[in-house]
Symmetry: C2
Subunit: 218 residues, 2 copies
DNA sequence: CTCGGAATGGGGCGCTCACCTCATAGCCCG
DNA sequence: CGGGCTATGAGGTGAGCGCCCCATTCCGAG
C-alpha cells in the first residue's frame, strides 16, 4: 500500500483542548490532515468506520470505551487502518496492550509536538514508533526477565475487571460482595488473582493501575 | 485597572500538546495572545514574574510544583496578575483550594474550547468563571451542609503531604516510618489526621486524591 | 503569656487485607 | 472426553489498617 500524498487522520481524546492541539500541530504539516474527531472510544470506532481515513490517533484512557478497546475493534474490523496510541502514562502495561491490540505506535502527551508528527509519519511508512523511554523499558525488561512472553501481559477477565474497578473506587470486600451478590471469599479470591497476575501487592497499586487503564477517574 | 486591548497570557501545562491547543484557541481571538509557556509550577512562577503578562492559565496537576502551589506564590508576589485554573478533574476540593489560592476561575479540560475563551474574558473583566457543573457542586453543598466554612477545606501540612505522597506510592506504615525516620505510631497519627481533614476512609481514597492533586503519577 | 496547631510517640481494639490451601461447577477447545 | 480456564466458595493466619484514648515538645499568633 503506497503512502497517500495527504494522510487523512482521526483524533480521539476526551479533552477538546487536546484535540485542538493535535489538529493544529498536524494540520500545520502539508502531508497530514485531521478530518475527524471523537471524544470516546465508541465514537472513535463509529467515525473511523464511516470516514475515509488512513490513521487513527487514540487516547488510551477515555471514558466508557477506552482507546485500547477501540483499537482492538478497529484492528479487527478495518485491518488496513493504522493506529497510533496516545497516552499520559509511561506504562509498560499500556504499551504492550496497545501493541497487542494492533497499534503501530505509542507516544506520550508529555512528548514534544514534533515527536508526535514524527510518530505519525513513521506509522504511515509501516514502521513502529515508540517514545524514547519505552525503548528503555523494553531493554530493561530483557535484562530483568528475559524475553517478555505474552503470558506476563495477560489481560484480566471481565469479572476481575469488575472487581478491580470497585476496589479502586474504595469499596471494601464486603461492599463488593454485596454489590455483585457473591460471597466475600470469592471477592478476595478475585482480588488475589488480580494481584498475582499484575505482580502487585496491595489495593493502592491496584488503584493506580485502574486509573492508568482508564477504568476509573481519580 | 482597565482591560488591556490585547490580553497577554502565560499557559502552564506539563503536556506540550495541551499548550499547543491552548495557544491555537487563544491566539485565534483578536484580543488574546499567548506570550509564554511553562511545563511545571516552578517554571510558571519564574516566567510569570519575568514576563509582562496579564493572566496565567495554570494546570492544577503538574509534576514537582503543582498549579495550586504556583497560584499561591503568584498571588502573593504579583497580586494584580489574574489566575485561571485548568484541571482534568471535576473536584470540589481542587475548586476550593484554587479559589483560596487566589484564582479567579476554574475550567475543565473536558470543557469546550469556547468555554475556556469565555473564562479568560470573564476573568479579565474581574468576574469569576466556574465551569457549569461547579455551580451544581456549590449548590449541592449549600443544601447538604449549609454554608461551607473554610475549616472544611483546610489544606494539609507539609509533613502530612509528605506522608500522603508515600501512602499513595503504596508504602506501608512501617516503610514510611523508616523513610522519614519516625515511629510507626506517628505515621499512623498523620494518616489519621489526613483522613479526618479530607473526610476520607482509606488509603485507596487517599491515593486517588494524591493523583488528582498531582502529588504522584498513577 | 496563654492558647492552639504541628509534630512527635505510646497503648489498645476490631476488622480488613494479603497470602496460603483446597474444592466444585460450568465452560470451551482440541 | 480430558484438560485448561473462569467463577464460585470454604478454612485459616498474621500483619497492617482504621479508629479511639492519651501525653509531650515546640513554635507562633493573639
Amino acid at each position: 500500500m503506497p503512502i497517500p500524498l495527504v494522510t487523512r487522520i482521526l483524533v480521539a481524546d476526551d479533552h477538546p483542548i487536546v484535540r485542538s492541539g493535535l489538529k493544529k500541530v498536524l494540520d500545520a504539516q502539508p502531508d497530514l490532515e485531521v478530518v475527524a474527531e471523537a471524544e470516546d472510544g465508541a465514537e472513535a470506532v463509529k467515525k473511523a468506520m464511516a470516514a475515509d481515513i488512513h490513521l487513527a490517533i487514540l487516547d488510551v484512557s477515555m471514558p466508557k470505551t477506552t482507546g485500547i478497546q477501540a483499537a482492538e475493534e478497529l484492528h479487527r474490523r478495518k485491518p488496513e487502518l493504522r493506529l497510533l496510541m496516545l497516552s499520559m502514562y509511561d506504562s509498560e502495561q499500556f504499551l504492550f496492550e496497545s501493541l497487542k491490540a494492533g497499534a503501530s505506535g505509542y507516544v506520550l502527551k508529555s512528548d514534544a509536538d514534533q515527536d508526535i508528527v514524527e510518530a505519525v509519519r513513521c506509522t504511515m511508512r509501516g514502521q513502529s514508533f515508540l517514545y524514547p523511554s519505552a525503548i528503555g523499558t523494553l531493554v530493561r525488561d530483557f535484562v530483568e526477565r528475559g524475553r517478555p512472553d505474552e503470558e506476563q501481559f495477560d489481560i484480566l477477565t471481565p469479572r476481575e475487571l469488575q472487581v478491580l474497578k470497585l476496589i479502586a473506587e474504595a469499596y471494601t470486600s464486603k461492599e463488593i460482595a454485596e454489590e455483585l451478590v457473591i460471597s466475600i471469599k470469592t471477592v478476595e479470591r478475585h482480588r488475589q488473582n488480580i494481584l498475582d497476575k499484575l505482580g502487585m501487592n496491595d489495593r493502592v497499586e491496584l488503584t493506580r493501575y485502574a486509573i492508568r487503564r482508564g477504568l476509573i477517574q481519580p
